[in-house]
Amino acid sequence: MDFSALNNEDRVYIEKVMEKKQMQDFLQLYSKLSIRCFSDCVNDFSTRTITDKESACTTLCVEKFIKMSQRMSQRFAEQHMINQQ
């Protein structure tokens, strides 16, 4: 996105919007990961503590999701550049 066209006041506004969005994106990713990995990994409600198996599954689930979204960010940047030319 090319913000050169924006004057100073707009630029400050956009920077604040982006800062808030970054925080918002982190919270949304955190919420999505908790919902997805809990649903996929936790099924034993005979106890109120997380079992080792559930904990291990969650660690892999979080790692896999973050690696996936990093890879998709790269593809998104490349693909989007091609289509913009």
Partner: protein, 81 residues
Amino acid sequence: MSQNALMAEQEMEAMTLLFNGMVDTCYKKCIPGHYREGDLTKGEAVCLDRCAAKYIDLSEKIGRQMTEIQNTLAASQMPSQ
């Protein structure tokens, strides 16, 4: 806020929605829900790359189709000159 700032904000919103839609959809299409390892397998990586390319292309095609439908709609409601 000037029109430019609002346009920039909406451009960012559109990009976020496109990226999130792509990530959620390709995750469901390419990653099975049983996690044996944290790394992406070869198959998962190849599937994700192709899915990303197809999602972005299809999304742009849908965007063009939606704009066409809106234009024909707007034209049909135009008072006939």
